[in-house]
């Protein structure tokens, strides 16, 4: 495994108490593999990713337990300086909003070149040439001139390409993309996603794709982890989950996608709201919203059951996964 997260717990100290954002998440990704992490706002998918990257705000955040093994090394045990050298060089992150994620007062060229001067000790001139090369590679027209421009002078899609170029700069082994296309126009989304997938294949990188968009997932992901209230509720190879979800939450998500063949029918919506992370319901966190909830769900936290029936690597954190899978 390139990256293996084991039983990660992250808390936030807030005015209203301790918010348990991540409660025992384990997942892994191999080189060349794409893991899609799915979930609503507050499910802990971004916090987990930020913890892996080491960019969590501490305080108010705090890692209370777990391991993050990157090529066998536990990143949580590294010194800050060693950790810093991993960031950007070995693993990189792409954020949702490229406009706010790029520094408004520096040219994109300077922001790209910085990767090479800081991590590789290159001269400014060489780094600048590298920046132009990178912009070419993510197919930004007239890269030689646009390298001197500022982020606000680019369109949304072009800016996200620059973010991707920045992440790819040092050919890292792992890329974490946090909703990389959410802020973009629908027409541009596919282009950016294709570019990302292409570069990933080319460089044989591991990719963690954080999203709430099941449509994106189906095209590019190898496997899926669905998160709810800071836990993984279902994990499976991508085609399996579309065929038959093994958790009522996943099923709810799938059923809430509009589909052409169900034209005219009422769209399904999961009732209720995600829980307040300072007061996660006891038992299965999803039970107040679950159509299948029974007494045991209110008291016992379901473990991630092995639901492998056909092929390897499926898990569901539902006491009644069998019912869900076959019903």
């Amino acid at each position: 495994m390139l990256l293996e997260v084991r039983d990660l717990h992250v808390e936030f100290h807030t005015r209203d108490g301790v918010a348990k954002a991540v409660n025992g998440v384990s997942y892994g990704v191999d080189a060349g593999e794409t893991l899609a992490v799915l979930g609503e706002s507050g499910s802990g998918k971004s916090v987990t990713a930020q913890t892996v990257m080491g960019i969590l705000d501490i305080p108010p955040g705090r890692v209370t337990a777990g391991e993050i093994l990157f090529e066998g090394r536990d990143l949580l045990k590294l010194k800050e300086e060693e950790r810093r050298k991993v960031r950007g060089a070995e693993m990189a992150m792409i954020f949702q909003d490229a406009l706010s994620s790029l520094n408004p007062v520096l040219t994109v060229g300077a922001q790209l070149a910085e990767m090479f001067t800081v991590h590789r000790g290159m001269s400014r001139k060489d780094a600048h040439a590298k920046a132009v090369e990178l912009m070419d590679r993510v197919r930004i027209p007239a890269a030689g001139e646009r390298v001197k421009q500022y982020p606000h002078q680019f369109s949304g899609g072009m800016r996200q390409r620059i973010m991707i170029a920045m992440a790819m700069a040092l050919e890292p082994k792992l890329i974490i993309a946090d909703e990389p296309t959410t802020a973009l126009d629908v027409t541009v989304q596919a282009q950016v996603m294709d570019l990302l997938a292409e570069l990933q294949r080319e460089l044989h990188m591991g990719l963690i794709l954080i999203t709430h968009d099941l449509g994106v997932v189906a095209d590019v992901a190898d496997k899926i982890a669905v998160m709810y209230a800071g836990r993984i509720v279902e994990t499976a190879p991508v085609h399996d989950i579309y065929k038959a979800p093994a958790h009522p939450y996943t099923r709810g998500l799938l059923e809430s996608i509009p589909r052409l063949d169900q034209k005219g029918q009422e769209l399904y919506a999961i009732k209720g709201l995600p829980p307040n992370l300072t007061r996660i319901p006891p038992g299965c966190a999803f039970h107040p919203r679950c159509p299948m909830a029974r007494d045991v769900c209110r008291t016992d936290v379901p473990p991630l059951y092995d639901v492998t029936e056909s092929d390897a690597g499926r898990g569901s954190a539902c006491h009644f996964w069998r019912e869900c899978l076959h019903g």
Partner: protein
């Protein structure tokens, strides 16, 4: 950029005319401009009438204003109560006040920004709370009280400084008066820097910079500071005019013979020419400082340059 400068220069004209006219009216309508001209005696009616005619005071106010401004643009600011040309007074007063302002601005830049950065990066820690409280106290205590207290402590009680500044008013003598003049703005600069740093620290681009694996000092100096200091620079720039105009109190306390001193004398003796002359220059300084700040803003923030 060029068009912008022209537009701004054109916008300055009505403000300049308005502000000087306002002061001109205040001085003329409210007081008797020739009352001070006969020295301490009351002018006899005949002399008064003659003087009025001589200075054009029997003309409508707007005409007087036009004449005065016409003269000003040929370099003639009129005569002060003691018969000296106002320009001569300015020649001695402005260098002193400019030195005082430079000292004050240096305090704002060095102490204000350093304190602001330190507290902004350590929000909620004891240093932050302490400095924050201190700035509130400094803002709350009127400048003249701060001045008198520092004079009492450093000058009278401990004898570290001379309670009054000599007529040369060298930089060394102006350190404490400069600090007094800067005090309130210094507190504002600290708070502004702190807020700006704290706000930008949570910004997405700082998070990106950290995710890029940049060393902490580089994240702070290259990414955080550059953005955070934009509002601070503009504040300090606009403060130049305010400091020079606000030096009256400080100069009075430390007996500094600068712009504030001359203005105070001019007002007490109701000498129109001195007061309007000095205020005209101050308004110009204020407007030019603002223009420079706006241009600086465009240099610091590329989004404005091309917007």
């Amino acid at each position: 950029m060029g068009r912008y400068v022209v537009r701004r220069l054109l916008q300055m004209i009505p403000v300049f005319i308005g502000a000087t006219l306002l002061i001109f009216l205040m001085v003329n309508v409210m007081g008797d401009p020739i009352a001070g001209l006969c020295g301490d005696r009351e002018c006899d009616p005949a002399t008064a009438a003659q003087l009025r005619h001589e200075f054009g005071l029997d003309q409508p106010v707007w005409q007087q204003y036009a004449t005065y401004m016409g003269n000003v643009f040929t370099g003639d600011f009129g005569t002060a109560f003691n018969g000296q040309p106002v320009t001569e007074l300015m020649g001695t007063a402005f260098p002193v006040t400019i030195r005082l302002t430079i000292v004050a601005i240096l305090f704002e830049i060095i102490v204000g920004i350093v304190l602001g950065v330190v507290t902004g990066l350590r929000r909620g820690r004891p240093v932050d709370t302490g400095v924050l409280l201190l700035t509130l106290v400094v803002i709350s205590v009127p400048t003249f009280v701060t001045g008198l207290l520092l004079q009492l402590l450093l000058g009278v009680k401990w004898g570290w400084i001379d309670p009054a500044v000599s007529s040369e008013a060298a930089f060394g003598e102006l350190i404490v008066p400069g600090l007094v003049l800067a005090s309130v703005s210094l507190a504002y600069v600290t708070r502004l820097t702190r807020t700006s740093i704290a706000e930008n620290r949570r910004s997405d681009y700082v998070r990106t910079a950290i995710a890029k694996g940049l060393p902490r000092h580089r994240v702070i100096t290259r990414h955080l500071l550059r953005n955070s200091l934009i509002p601070v620079v503009t504040f300090i720039g606009t403060d130049i005019g305010a400091l020079m105009g606000g030096a009256i109190v400080t100069e009075r306390i430390f007996n500094i013979h600068g712009v504030g001193y001359q203005l105070y004398q001019g007002i007490l003796r109701q000498n129109t020419q001195t007061v309007v002359g000095f205020v005209t220059v101050l308004v110009l300084v204020f407007l030019v400082a603002n223009l420079v700040v706006d241009l600086l803003y465009a240099v610091l923030d590329p989004r404005i340059r091309y917007a």
